[in-house]
Amino acid sequence: MPLLEIKNLVTAFHTPAGRVPAVDGVSLSINRGTTLGLVGESGCGKSVTALSILRLVSAPGVIESGEILLENGGSTQNLVTLGERELCRVRGGRIGMIFQEPMTSLNPVFTLGDQIAEAVHLHEKVSRAEARLRSLEMLKLVRMADPEQRLHEYPHQLSGGMRQRVMIAMALVCRPDLVIADEPTTALDVTIQAQILDLLSAVRKRLSTAILLITHDLGVVAETCDEVAVMYAGKIVERAPTAELFSRPLHPYTIGLIAARPTPGASRSVPLRTIPGMVPLPNNFPSGCRFHPRCAYAQFPRCQTEPAELREVTPGHFVRCHFAGELDVPQNH
C-alpha cells in the first residue's frame, strides 16, 4: 500500500473571471521512504497540488473532486473529506511542509525556538523543556551553527538559507512520514541550494521520511528522486522511475525538457523555459491534448480534438500521449 495516493484531484479557483482549474485530474502515489519528484514549468499547478494535499489552498480555491488517501495503520484516511481536528493532526504531524518562500514563511514576532517548539506541542504532550530539547536537536540535525543561541533569535536575524533550515527543522520535528518540499531552493543562492538539497537527502536517510520534491530543475530530480512525475497544464503527462524516465522519455514534453536540460557540469539552476511556445494558463487550456500547440509530433486532427489518457506503456511507466511508444524519437542512451 502506498503511503500517499492522490486520485483524480481537481482543484479550481473560482475567480470573478471564471473557473480556473489549476489542478485538473492529477493522480500520484508515493511509497514509504521514497522520494517522488514533481516537475513542470512555472504555472502548471505544482504548488496548488502540494497545497491541496494538506487542504491549504486558500479561497477562492476549492478541491472539487478526487481523493487524497493517506495510509494510516493498515487502513487509509481520505484527506479531502477529513474533519478539521483530524486534519490538524495530519498537518505537521504525519505530513510536514516546506515552502518556496523562506523569507516570509516564518512568523516575524516569535523566536525560532518558540516556532519549532510550537510544532511539537501541537502534536505531542510534552513539557516545555522537552520541546526545547527537541527543537535544539532538530537545529543540530539541520546543521545550524550555534543552535543554542538560535533558539532565542527572530527570523529577521537569519539569511534565507538559514530560515529554510529552520523551516526544514520545523517540518521534521514531529517525525512525519512524508515531507512536501515545494521548490525549497528556488529562492536561494546556487551554493546554498546545493547545501539545502544535500541536507534534505541526509535527513531523509536519517529519518527515513518520504519526500514529495517539487522543482523546476531536472538536474535535482536526477540526483535525488526515486520516481518522477512530469506535470503539464494541470495534468500529469508522464510518470516513471527516475532512471527509466531519463533513459526512455516517452512524452514529447518530457523529451523536450530533457533535451533542453543544461549539460552536466553547467549550472544546474537553469529554468525549464526552452521549449518553444507559451505555457497555457488554466483559464484557457487548449482542447484535445493540452500540449498539442507546442508539440513537434502532433498529428491533426486527433491531437487537437481527442484528449489523451494516462496509459501504462511499460510496467511502472505512465504516459499521456496518443502516440506514446510509437514516436520515432532519438533516445538518450
Binding site: 481536528r85 490538524c88 515552502f99 514576532v109
Partner: protein
C-alpha cells in the same frame, strides 16, 4: 523641543491675527451697552500686553513659560495653570473611560469579524460598524439625549441631559460619585461610539491583511487550529500597528472631545479650548496648545516604545 517651539510660534501668530481681541469679543458682543470707551481699551491693552506686536508678545510669553508661568486668563481672571488643573480631572475621567471601553469592545469585535470571515455574521457586524461609523457623533448624541432625557423622563432610566453633577443629591462622597457617574453615562457612550467603529474596522482590516501572509499558511501547515492561527499567530502581528495607534491616542485622553464636551456641557479641556478660542483668550489658548503639543510628542514616544516591545525587528536604539 524645536517642534514645540515651531508649533507654539505658529499658533501664537495665528491666534493673535484672528479678527477681534479679548476685550471686544467678551464685552462688546455680549452686551453692546457696555462697550468700553477707547481710553479704557488702551489702558487694558497695555495691562495685558496687547499693544505690542505679536512676535514681541510671543517672546515675552515664551520667557514666562520657561520660568514655569503660563500667565493669567484674560476672560476668566485666573491663572491658566489653575484653569487647566480644574478641567483636567473631568476630561481624564470621561475620555479615559471612553478609551478603555472602546478598546475592550473594539478588539473582540474586530477579532470576531475576522474569525467569522466570509460568513453572514461578519457582513452583519461589518455593516453595523459601517453605519455607526458614518453616523455623525452629534446626531447620535442628540438621539441619545432625546431617548434618555425626554422619552424616559420620570422613569428609572432617565439620565441627565448635561453637566457633570446635579443639585439636591445627598451628602457623602458615594452620592456624589454616583451622581457624576449618572451624568457621565451618555457622554461616555457617545465618545466611545465614535472610536469604536473606527477601531474595530481597523483591527478587522489589519487582521485580513495579516491572515494572507505566508507565515499564517505555515502555522496552518504545522497543525495549528483555526483559533490558534487567528488569536496567536495573526493577532500578535496585528498588535504592531495597534500599539502605535494606542500611543497616538494619548493626547486625546487629555484634550478631550470638543464636540462631546460641548454637547453635554461637560466641564473639561475640550470645552475650555473651544471657549478660549471664542473669547480670544490668548494665554489660555497658548497654555492648552503647549500642553497638547507636549502630549502629542509624548504619545509618539510612547508609540515608539510600545512598537519596540511588540516588533522584534525594531530595536530600541534605532
Amino acid at each position: 523641543m524645536l517642534t514645540l517651539f515651531v508649533i507654539t510660534w505658529i499658533v501664537y501668530g495665528l491666534t493673535r491675527n484672528m479678527p477681534g481681541t479679548p476685550l471686544t469679543v467678551t464685552l462688546g458682543e455680549t452686551d453692546p451697552s457696555r462697550k468700553l470707551n477707547p481710553a479704557d481699551i488702551e489702558r487694558m491693552k497695555k495691562a495685558y500686553g496687547l499693544d505690542k506686536p505679536w512676535y514681541e508678545a510671543y517672546c515675552i510669553w515664551l520667557g514666562n513659560v520657561v520660568q514655569g508661568d503660563l500667565g493669567r486668563s484674560i476672560s476668566r481672571k485666573q491663572p491658566v495653570a489653575t484653569l487647566i488643573g480644574e478641567r483636567i480631572g473631568p476630561t481624564l475621567a470621561l475620555s479615559g473611560a471612553a478609551l478603555l471601553l472602546t478598546w475592550t469592545l473594539a478588539i473582540p469585535l474586530g477579532l470576531y469579524a475576522s474569525a467569522r470571515s466570509g460568513s453572514p455574521d461578519e457582513r452583519a457586524v461589518g455593516l453595523l460598524l459601517f453605519v455607526l461609523y458614518s453616523f455623525p457623533t452629534f446626531v447620535a448624541a442628540l438621539f441619545l439625549q432625546i431617548i434618555f432625557a425626554v422619552w424616559l423622563r420620570g422613569t428609572a432610566w432617565e439620565l441627565p441631559l448635561f453637566g457633570m453633577s446635579g443639585d439636591g443629591v445627598g451628602t457623602g462622597w458615594w452620592h456624589r460619585v454616583a451622581d457624576i457617574a449618572r451624568h457621565a453615562i451618555l457622554p461616555i457612550t457617545v465618545q466611545t461610539y465614535g472610536g469604536l467603529a473606527w477601531y474595530s474596522r481597523f483591527i478587522h482590516s489589519t487582521m485580513e491583511e495579516v491572515v494572507r501572509q505566508d507565515y499564517i499558511r505555515t502555522a496552518r501547515a504545522k497543525g495549528a487550529g483555526e483559533y490558534r492561527v487567528l488569536f496567536h499567530h495573526a493577532f500578535r502581528n496585528t498588535l504592531i500597528p495597534l500599539v502605535t495607534l494606542l500611543g497616538l491616542s494619548l493626547p486625546g485622553l487629555l484634550s478631550g472631545s470638543v464636540i462631546v464636551e460641548q454637547i453635554f456641557t461637560w466641564p473639561g479641556m475640550g470645552r475650555l479650548f473651544f471657549e478660549s478660542i471664542r473669547e480670544r483668550d490668548y494665554p489660555t489658548i497658548m497654555g492648552l496648545t503647549l500642553l497638547f503639543s507636549v502630549l502629542t510628542l509624548a504619545g509618539q514616544l510612547l508609540a515608539d516604545l510600545l512598537y519596540c516591545m511588540v516588533d522584534p525587528r525594531v530595536s530600541v536604539d534605532s
